[in-house]
């Protein structure tokens, strides 16, 4: 996708994955903005990076690890405070079809 202009369908697909519903004018402006970002990335990918370590993180840090000690939890009132709907101790949402899971 990096070498070409995005199509209207591309933008609509990306918007859908992000649960956005842009109007036609926004789709066109996003198409042009995203295309120019991708154009910039395309330019970057012409640089010879042979022998350069890929950067996984901008900070030169690793292994920020915490001890496995259980800490504080939120009281149920706070957990459910902003929920649009709640039932008993649960957040309630419209039914979804498959079972989810990792």
């Amino acid at each position: 996708m990096s070498e070409r202009e995005l199509s209207i369908q591309d933008v609509r697909h990306i918007a859908k994955l992000s649960r956005l519903a842009p109007d036609d004018a926004t789709v066109e402006s996003m198409r042009s903005a995203l295309s120019s970002i991708l154009g910039h990335i395309a330019k970057l990918s012409t640089i010879d990076v042979a022998g350069v370590e890929p950067m996984a993180h901008p900070l030169a840090l690793s292994n920020r690890l915490a001890a496995d000690e259980p800490g504080a939890t939120l009281p149920i009132e706070l957990v459910l405070l902003n929920a649009p709907a709640k039932v008993d101790r649960y957040l309630a949402v419209p039914k979804v079809l498959d079972e989810g899971g990792a």
Binding site: H13, K16, L17, R19, A56, H57, P58, L59, L61, S62, N63, R64, L65, A66, A67, D68, E69, P70, G71, A72, T73, L74, I76, V79, L80, A85, V87, D88, R89, Y90, L91, A92, V93, P94, K95, V96, L97, D98, E99, G100, G101, A102
Partner: protein, 512 residues
């Protein structure tokens, strides 16, 4: 015209299965935050949404911090599976919307997993053993849980979200497609569960979802013209019992051949299909997928820095590995001369195995056996016979019967020095399941001590001979085998207190 999918003769059907296994790690806190982890026994069955903090809820400004122990447990599993532990691994975001995923992404490891390139040797049903390749094992986080029932079992029309499980450390192990039958997949699954339980990295309780299996199944058909047809790969989601794993693979093996017959569809790009498993019907079914499910737009998580593992860390973790089930089985066969079957049962459960080892240590410490071989063998046999029998009756594990290692060793010592006979030893084992009293005292109290009093033995023998004239005559006539009836009769008269060999000797003397 050549034969079509509907008419071609199939010469050979070959099953090909690869496996993905999700293992919930039993750390005390979650993968990227310190909210308690419901996969740890201290936090089983907590009230819904009670193990939740701002990171779990993805509240603005909250940031993840890796759990040291989750990383080390994963390294242990990787090492046990013969994997390399990568010097450098990192975290990626797998993006999708779902109500059980508050951040709208799951933190996982995409291209640089922690463990790579391992293999596990398993005994296979065709005989011998086979090496199963481990492609990778990567760390990620579990999602929350959705349910459609209110407490008390009342159905709810929407979905109810419980975030307790959200953020539990999850280790995903991916095997090569090295299986060709369902039974071997189950053997592997059980071995993996066993390894993880010996490592102490998971409760391994299938009903709790501590381990979830996803087989990728397809079938290779060799046709009469010599060509090979491959059916599309089907991934069966979220199986949480070995019965389901076996049933689902066997069902798919048949279904895929039938489907090819009907449609001629073969494996191709983007043809991977997801199916669920209906345990009651014993069938797989088409699962409605999340829309755009495979467009996850992975990218490196900017909130987490990489994991860098050096040799010193590797060595430190390697030093913590216990002796694994496979090595223990080999040792029990070689050192204790136990059969493969006995060795397998003794290593089938980590807690039972630990109990067995402590019994062997206690028995050895008593010094009643000359060699450790005999102590290991006799202890194993006692737990597998007297122990298993009672564990079955009481529907518990041998180590839960109540008898402790020292009492087991005492029973063996009393049997070895002839204080109690074999039958009495079995009874004594039973009594000791319900008391902390000393074995010798209980043997005395219950009248299990062998009678060595010659006159008592003589009286029982004479009584037995008088009551069984035919076997007695047979023995006199040289049919030695008939003596068994008489020995049995004496044992009955003595209520098991006579010692079989002395009885045998005395009967022979009297009937010669």
């Amino acid at each position: 015209m050549s034969a079509t999918h509907a008419t071609a003769k199939i010469l050979r059907t070959e099953l090909k299965v690869g496996l993905e296994i999700h293992i919930e790690l039993a750390t005390r806190s979650k993968m990227f935050t310190r909210a308690p982890n419901p996969a740890h026994p201290d936090f089983y069955d907590c009230a819904p949404n009670s193990l939740v903090d701002p990171v779990v809820m993805a509240l603005p400004g909250s940031l993840p911090v890796m759990n040291l122990i989750a990383v080390e447990m994963s390294m242990q599993v990787g090492m046990a599976l013969g994997c390399e532990i990568a010097s450098f691994s990192k975290w990626d975001r797998k993006n999708y919307f779902y109500p059980d995923l508050p951040k709208a992404y799951q933190i996982s490891q995409y291209d640089l997993p922690l463990c790579i390139n391992g293999s596990v040797e398993i005994p296979v049903s065709a005989g011998g053993s086979r090496s199963i390749g481990i492609i990778r094992a990567h760390l990620e986080e579990d999602t929350g849980k959705l349910s459609h029932e209110l407490p008390g079992g009342v159905a709810y029309a929407g979905s109810l979200v419980d975030l307790n499980r959200a953020g539990t450390p999850l280790l995903e192990v991916v095997t090569a497609p090295d299986f060709d039958c369902a039974d071997d997949v189950v053997t592997f699954g059980q071995e993996l569960r066993n390894i993880c339980r010996f490592l102490g990295v998971t409760g391994g309780i299938m009903q709790r979802g501590h381990m979830r299996f996803e087989p990728n199944v397809n079938v290779l058909l060799t046709l009469e013209d010599g060509s090979v047809v491959k059916t599309p790969i089907v991934e069966i989601k979220n199986l949480n019992s070995f019965k389901a794993v076996k049933g689902a693979i066997e069902f798919e093996t048949k279904r895929q051949v039938e489907e090819w017959r009907a449609t001629g569809r073969v494996m191709g790009k983007g043809m991977k299909i997801t199916r669920g498993w209906d345990d009651l019907k014993g069938q797989t079914f088409v699962q409605r997928e999340k829309e755009d499910a495979h467009d996850y737009r992975y990218f490196p998580d900017p909130d987490l820095v990489p994991v860098v593992v050096d040799d010193a860390w590797r060595a430190r973790v390697r030093a913590t590995l216990p002796e694994l089930p496979m090595a223990r089985r080999a040792r029990y066969r070689e050192q204790f001369r136990l059969s493969e079957v006995d060795a397998r049962v003794l290593t089938d459960d980590a807690d039972f195995c630990a109990f067995y080892e402590s019994c062997v240590a206690a028995t050895t410490a008593k010094g009643c056996f000359k060699a450790i071989t005999d102590a290991g063998y006799a202890t194993g046999k006692m737990l597998l016979n007297a122990g298993s029998k009672r564990a079955n009756e009481r529907n518990c594990m041998v180590q839960e019967l109540g008898i402790d290692a020292n009492q087991v060793a005492d029973v063996l010592a009393l049997r070895e020095d002839g204080t109690v006979g074999p039958q009495a030893a079995d009874l004594l084992f039973g009594f000791l399941c319900d008391t902390k009293d000393n074995a010798a005292t209980v043997a005395e109290q219950q009248g299990l001590v062998q009678v060595r009093d010659e006159s008592a033995l003589e009286a029982w023998c004479d009584q037995a001979i008088a009551a069984n004239p035919q076997p007695a005559a047979d023995v006199r006539a040289g049919k030695v085998a008939a003596i068994g009836r008489l020995v049995g009769a004496v044992m009955k008269l003595s209520a098991g207190k006579a010692e079989a060999q002395s009885v045998n000797d005395m009967l022979r003397k009297r009937l010669s």
